[in-house]
């Protein structure tokens, strides 16, 4: 019943895209330009350029289609499966359009942007296939809000217990609670961990400090350490959760802005070839 975007309807769009690539390649191989080497200026060049441009506009339209909720009868998955395969096929179409003529110019800029958009898209597909499952396993049935409430609960208990265990330990617990940050800079979020995690540090230091507790408080000390250890586990889980989500989101910050850049440079490319060629 559930099908991934790649396997969608028996790889329908993989087949379509392969067909497109094959036809393009054969025509390219057979085609003999009247003057010069194959390039964007030949009849075939124009044809492939137009096909490429059409594909790019259609691929970019996905951003709008995705948000035209309730309109259009096709599943969005249908569109995305096509987007992925035809987007990949575009590499061949556009490359053959250029006839492998690259230089330091706006034309090649457009080409490079396109390759970056496609590469980021490919990473996106990888992320979409890999992280959802990891995320579910990591969550173990809880929602993110529930995890955060559990942490807050542990905090309250830890404060209560540590209040009776002397200023050193209490201060350590309080400071760690204040300093704890989930999320934070993009790089840290993406990594899904924090090497300077205050909760982990506090666990270690409270562990050391509790060695000096009088026997009568030893029981409480152990309870506190158990609480802190549970918190570290939860905090690490939330970080991993944020990390997975960040991996699923981050590439779109390349994919979408570069799409705008690509559209702009392509406009320049097309306008320039018409004016200066």
């Amino acid at each position: 019943m559930h099908e991934s975007i790649l396997a969608f309807r028996g790889f329908k769009y993989l087949k379509l895209s392969a067909l497109m690539v094959a036809v393009t390649a054969i025509v390219y191989a057979v085609h003999q330009p009247t003057v010069g080497p194959p390039n964007g200026g030949t009849a075939l060049g124009y044809a492939l350029g137009t096909l490429g441009l059409g594909l790019i506009i259609w691929l970019a339209w996905f951003g709008v289609r995705k948000r035209r909720y309730g309109l259009g009868k096709m599943l969005l998955e249908d569109w995305l499966s096509a987007h992925v395969y035809l987007g990949l096929g575009l590499i061949v179409v556009a490359t053959l359009h250029t006839g492998f003529q690259f230089g330091w110019n706006v034309h090649t800029l457009a080409y490079v942007l396109m390759i970056l958009v496609i590469a980021s898209g490919a990473f996106g597909v990888f992320a979409y296939l890999r992280y959802p499952r990891l995320m579910t396993e990591n969550r173990r049935g809880a929602t993110q809000r529930e995890l955060l409430t559990q942490i807050a609960e542990l905090d309250v208990k830890a404060r209560e217990i540590s209040a009776g265990l002397g200023d050193d330990i209490h201060g350590e617990v309080m400071r760690a609670q204040e300093k704890l940050a989930l999320g934070g800079p993009a790089r840290r979020q993406l990594s899904g961990r924090d090497p300077n995690c205050p909760a982990t540090a506090a666990l270690k230091r409270v562990g050391d400090l509790s060695l000096g507790l009088p026997v009568t408080d030893a029981e409480k000390g152990r309870a506190l350490i158990a609480l802190l250890a549970r918190k570290v586990e939860l905090v690490e889980r939330v970080r991993r959760d944020l990390g997975f989500k960040a991996m699923m989101d981050v590439w779109l910050f390349v994919h979408v802005p570069l799409t705008f850049g690509l559209l702009a440079s392509l406009t320049a490319h097309v306008v320039s070839v018409f004016f200066y060629w």
Binding site: V64, Y69, P132, G141, K157, M248
Partner: protein, 802 residues
């Protein structure tokens, strides 16, 4: 000095108040007794600022008091003023505890001992009943012991004990736990009375330590402890003391029924929702004792007010026409050239036996909830596989029931007085046959809710329908072409047997003594493999179980358990064997089915996780769903595009909460309507605003919803919520290009703060008005979200568990 009033009115809700007003206006000696210190307690208790709806719009208002769509405060203000202006003789703080005597000489006892004499009594006490009290020493009138909770956010940093184990107790406890230390006190060892969603909520909250629970504990007494409270409880390990700041007891309400019965009024059935039988003048079986308003089965304010007026007229001997007469005239317009309304009522009762046992008042109600259909010969009344669940009676003409889709010889003809459509009504599933008018007809099509009311109130109606239904069910599900004689002998052995949720129909290893035809509900089939009970399959209504043991002459090979309240037709072994002997065709069908079951069983035994998944889905709603939204979490990228799609296609409010809801083996059941076969949400909707479409979608009619919140409480899956309208947002392009506004999706904060429009119930309507169907599913970029019916469970589970 005691005075004999012409009429004593008990309860000052819309019904009683209007009666009091009319009596004052007409100059009749009267007294209006009200339990609380204000008029109309039910409406007084509505949420502040609630918009009170005056549905149905077409019903004219007939009362000395005004009432139209408006804010709670304004309406109560108007009523207070008009009650004073009319000089209604109201006596507050007077709870009537006993009514004795007879017409002309009733005696009403008021709490505190005062007695009041009256010739006639009007009972208008509504259905809210009395809140159950803690009733332990020290708890009476204690300011820190309360029985209601309006706003949980009002309390912070207190230790609060919530007593009770029902939905209200759980909801209050969890809401309070956000800012307080909460201890919930449960008399028994588990939370069995709560609905599934709340059960999950409370067990999770306790597990996580968000609140504490004292099981098997009962309050004993309260003692002061400084300005706090010492609460002494009896627990399994002896007495315990807890010092707390506040006690909130949610022990439910005592329905008014026992009081009403104590007044001598009889109910026709034991069902708690049964209504008392009343004459056309609202008089009960006790002469001189009248019942109006919600207690009489009229759940809306306007109806209650009209009846208040009418009942005083009736008591004076004025035969006014009921206010709903114009509505009936409108409905039966096409027949009124031949009948007056009164004649028509009589004609219907004499022609249609199902309606024969009704009082005229009940019949009027039923007809108000009905439509007249006059199909020409050859016209279709309904199609096989439609999800409609109305009930038809034939007043004139004849219809053909096409039991078999091809064979016209098997058609069953039904003439005047007969009924059809009861199968959909009973099973909540698709229509099992197409019905065509074979002659020009006059049919009465009655809404499901009216029929359910009748069936619950009048055992005779139930019997009449059941008798015919059993035969038709046997024909449809088992043996279409059975001879009359064979059918009769089978019917003699057939029995209706009902099972509660989780009750066992039969156990693996039992001797096979009969076959069960499931007519409502559904079952799971399981087997012991190793030391575990593994679910093998799911059997919905319209199928039979238990045939294998009979055909093969061996003990039961599996255990069959009701997944939800289930009703079956039971055929004993001899009866079923007779069927097999006479119908070789059936024997073949069953043999083939058994073959398939054996293969499947082997298959499932090898993959027990599939069984667990079925069990999970069945429990989360599959047992009664026509359709469920399922998300495969191994594909879902948590983009919430599904939620955004729902909000964008439904006025900016999402009817789906993607993240909430349980997950098993990466299949996640988000909070979204299951479109139940017998929707719980429909059970108690005063204006009847919940409906089911032909395709089985359950939806709310925004035009008629009054925002009472009953459906929200009644849905066991917690998928309905109350919401204001969403404020308008800039368009998609402004957001895409210039970043204006919130963007697609529900702006939860804006909606919460909006106070725009009415606060009404919203729920998933399966995008019934949107071309292409479920927007959530169509907008999922990765194909993680799908909607399936229980029949599709198997293909789904096979897929996941490869």
């Amino acid at each position: 000095m005691t005075q004999l009033y012409k009429v004593a009115i008990v309860g000052s809700g819309p019904g009683g108040m209007s009666a009091g007003g009319r009596a004052a206006q007409a100059g009749i000696s009267h007294i209006l007794l009200e339990k609380t210190d204000h008029l109309s307690d039910t409406i007084y208790k509505y949420q502040k600022g609630k918009l009170v709806m005056a549905t149905p719009d077409i019903l004219p208002l007939r009362s000395p008091m005004d009432f139209k769509l408006g804010i709670r405060e304004d309406i109560l203000g108007t009523w207070d003023r008009q009650t004073a202006e009319l000089k209604v003789n109201v006596k507050f703080n007077s709870e009537v505890t006993k009514i004795t005597g007879k017409k002309g000489a009733f005696e009403l006892t008021v709490a505190g001992g005062e007695k009041i004499q009256a010739e006639n009594v009007v009972l208008a006490i509504g259905l809210q009943g009395n809140l159950r009290k803690l009733g332990i020493p020290g708890s009476d009138n204690h300011p820190k012991v309360q029985y209601q909770l309006d706003d949980p956010d009002e309390y912070a940093d207190e230790t609060i004990m919530v007593v009770g184990a029902g939905d209200a107790a759980i909801e209050n406890a969890v809401a309070l736990a956000k800012q307080n230390k909460v201890i919930i006190v449960n008399r028994s060892a588990e939370f069995a009375r709560a609905k599934q969603g709340n059960l999950d909520l409370i067990t999770k909250s306790i597990e996580k330590g968000l609140l504490e629970c004292m099981y098997s504990s009962a309050p004993v007494r309260l003692e002061p402890a400084g300005d706090r409270l010492k609460h002494v409880l009896k627990t399994a390990d002896g007495e315990a003391e807890v010092v707390c700041d506040r006690i909130i007891a949610r022990l439910g309400a005592l329905a008014p029924r026992s009081f009403v019965e104590a007044c001598g009024i009889q109910f026709p059935s034991k069902d708690p929702t049964a209504l008392p039988e009343l004459s056309p003048t609202y008089e009960s079986n006790v002469a001189g004792l009248y019942i109006i308003g919600a207690l009489a089965g009229y759940p809306l304010i306007k109806q209650a007010m009209n009846q208040g007026y009418e009942v005083v007229e009736f008591i004076q001997g004025n035969r006014v026409k009921p206010a709903d007469e114009p509505l009936l005239e409108e409905k039966f317009k096409k027949l009124l050239d031949r009948y007056t309304v009164d004649e028509l009522l009589v004609a219907i009762q004499s022609t249609i036996p199902v309606f024969a046992g009704l009082t005229i008042l009940q019949l009027r109600e039923v007809l108000l909830g009905s439509e007249v259909r006059m199909p020409q010969a050859g016209e279709t009344v309904f199609q096989r596989n439609e999800f409609t669940n109305t009930f038809f009676t034939v007043f004139e003409g004849e219809v053909a029931i096409q039991v078999d889709s091809e064979d016209r010889d098997d058609d069953v003809m039904l003439g005047p007085g007969s009924f059809f459509g009861e199968m959909g009504l009973i099973s909540g599933r698709r229509r099992s046959a197409t019905v065509i008018a074979s002659k020009p007809c006059v049919l009465i099509e009655t809404a499901r809710r009216e029929m359910i009311k009748l069936i619950k109130s009048l055992p005779k109606v139930r019997e009449t329908i059941d008798r015919a239904a059993v035969e038709r069910q046997i024909r449809t599900y088992l043996a279409p072409s059975l001879s009359r004689d064979d059918m009769d002998s089978i019917l003699r052995s057939a029995k209706l047997r009902s099972f509660k949720s989780n009750e066992v129909l039969f156990k693996e290893g039992d001797p096979g003594d009969g076959v069960f035809l499931i007519r409502t509900g559904s079952c799971t089939v399981s087997r012991r493999i190793g030391d575990k009970e593994i679910v093998m399959s799911y059997v919905p209504a319209g199928h039979y179980v238990g045939e294998m043991a009979l055909v093969r002459d061996m003990p039961r090979s599996a255990t069959v358990k009701a997944a939800i309240e289930t009703e079956t037709v039971w055929l004993d072994g001899a009866g079923f064997r007779l069927l097999l002997d006479h119908l070789p065709d059936l024997r073949h069908r069953i043999e083939r089915r058994i073959g398939a079951i054996i293969t499947q069983t082997e298959d499932m035994a090898a993959r027990p996780e599939t069984g667990n998944l079925i069990q999970f889905l069945v429990q989360e709603g599959g047992k009664e769903a026509a359709d469920m939204l399922l998300i495969d979490e191994s594909l879902c990228v948590r983009c919430d595009n599904c939620e955004k799609a729902c909000a964008e296609t439904h006025g900016g409010i999402s009817r789906l909460d993607r993240e909430a809801g349980p997950t098993y083996a990466s299949i996640h059941v988000p909070t979204s309507c299951r479109h139940c076969e017998h929707p719980h949400c429909m059970a108690d909707c005063p204006p009847d605003a919940l409906h089911k479409t032909k395709d089985g979608e359950v939806y709310i009619d925004e035009q008629t919803c009054i925002g009472c919140g009953n459906c929200e409480r009644n849905c066991p899956y917690g998928v309905i919520h109350m919401s204001y309208e969403a404020p308008a947002k800039p368009g998609l392009l402004s957001w895409l290009l210039f970043g204006l506004g919130y963007g697609p999706g529900e702006d939860k904060k804006a909606v919460h703060d909006s106070h725009q429009g009415k606060k009404l119930a919203v729920k998933c309507d399966m995008c019934k008005d949107i071309d292409g169907g479920a927007a959530c599913v169509r907008s999922c970029p990765t194909g993680a979200a799908i909607r399936v019916s229980p029949e599709q469970f198997f293909s789904l589970t096979n897929n996941v568990a490869q």
